[in-house]
């Protein structure tokens, strides 16, 4: 019995972002985003903007859209808490915002400090008027991100895709 080919989901996300004509890629790194960051950095049509804090990416997305460009904001779930007040800009101005959020604190988490924000992430986003979607299986990630991008930019809304920790694999600090 040969193993089914494993979907290369970071490559599928990159393809979805390229198809959506994303030009600015803002991020605070997460291990789960490492490969996607490398792929985007190697794409001459995408401009990388490393941030000191996730909320900067909300302002960046607003400015990019005012200037006629589409952007994406990459972060881990603990970064969501840093964005809340900035997200009022998106809601009030009916701006599009696409967020890709790697989940921590849910599946096999080793670090207890990740659990509170991980647990609060979907509701915190919803309270901030962000539409929340989730991708948990490698095969579905590309389509979920493509659909989220279309929703965000066609309907001028904030859309977050939560990438399940199960998809990424729990991080371990043990030998």
């Amino acid at each position: 019995m040969s193993a089914a080919p494993v979907a290369d989901w970071p490559r599928d996300i990159h393809a979805a972002l390229a198809a959506a004509e994303i030009r600015q890629v803002a991020y605070v790194p997460d291990a789960g985003h490492a490969r996607l960051i490398t792929l985007c950095a190697g794409d001459g049509a995408m401009h990388m903007v490393p941030l000191t804090s996730e909320q900067e990416g909300v302002g960046l997305a607003a400015g990019a859209w005012l200037g006629g460009q589409r952007s994406v904001l990459l972060m881990q779930s603990s970064g969501v808490g840093n964005c809340i007040n900035a997200l009022t800009l998106i809601e009030t101005c009916r701006l599009p915002l696409l967020m890709l959020i790697t989940m921590r604190g849910e599946f096999g988490e080793f670090n207890p400090w990740q659990v509170p924000m991980g647990r609060a992430t979907p509701q915190a986003l919803q309270l901030a008027d962000v539409l929340v979607q989730r991708a948990s299986r490698a095969e579905e990630v590309g389509a979920v991100v493509a659909g989220a991008a279309r929703l965000a930019f066609a309907s001028y809304r904030a859309v977050a895709v939560l990438l399940s920790q199960q998809l990424i694999g729990a991080k371990s600090f043990q030998k």
Binding site: V49, Q55, A62, G63, W65, G67, C93
Partner: protein, 198 residues
């Protein structure tokens, strides 16, 4: 710490915007937005009414998207202090077409004139210089403002100016409040009819 903060904020902003041409302007919330409105409302002004700490990053996103256009962020010392990390982020990007002018009254004017950190010597211009801005200065006279205004179009930035202004409260001059309107009129003025077809 305060020394001779004598510049009149309305005169500063009027001078900076006197020949604004196609300048794209983002303002921080509160008094800087009123100052820009007093100098003349424009569809190419995007005044914030909230999202404190975001003005510089909105300017960065805009400057990256429109590298041929000069972008000015006009904000308060309190608003800038809330987004200090964005100076580091801008320092990495170094967009030549972006300028930040901080109207520094050393106060949170909007909330009752409480002292900000700059009243205790925090030097925003030094921070911006340390973040890699191409030019960074503290301006205390109108000659400095006129020189800054003349450089906005040169696209030799990123520029940072900490403008020491008097802590007074000129009459209100309010821009539109509807965020969707502000966004739509800005995009229409900048991008033309295709703004709504994208």
């Amino acid at each position: 710490m305060s020394r001779a903060n004598t510049l009149d904020r309305r005169a500063v902003v009027r001078s900076l915007l006197a020949r604004r041409g196609g300048l794209l302007l983002v303002t921080g919330l509160g008094a800087p937005a009123w100052d820009a409105t007093a100098a003349g409302d424009s569809p190419l002004t995007f005044p914030l009414w909230g999202a404190m700490g975001s003005a510089a990053m909105i300017g960065l996103g805009l400057a990256l998207a429109q590298p041929e256009r000069a972008v000015l962020v006009l904000t308060g010392d309190g608003e800038m202090l809330m987004g200090l990390g964005s100076l580091a982020t801008i320092g990495v990007q170094r967009p030549a077409n972006l300028a930040l002018a901080v109207l520094d009254n050393e106060r949170y004017g909007e909330t009752g004139m409480q002292e900000t950190h700059t009243a205790h010597g925090v030097d925003l211009a030094a921070i911006a210089a340390g973040c890699g801005f191409a030019q960074s200065e503290t301006i205390r006279d109108m000659a400095g403002i006129e020189a800054l205004g003349a450089r906005l179009d040169a696209r030799q930035g990123p520029l940072f100016a900490q403008v020491k202004i008097a802590a007074d409260t000129p009459p209100l001059a309010l821009p539109p409040r509807d965020g969707a309107l502000l966004k739509n009129r800005f995009r229409a003025a900048l991008l033309g009819p295709q703004a709504d077809l994208a």
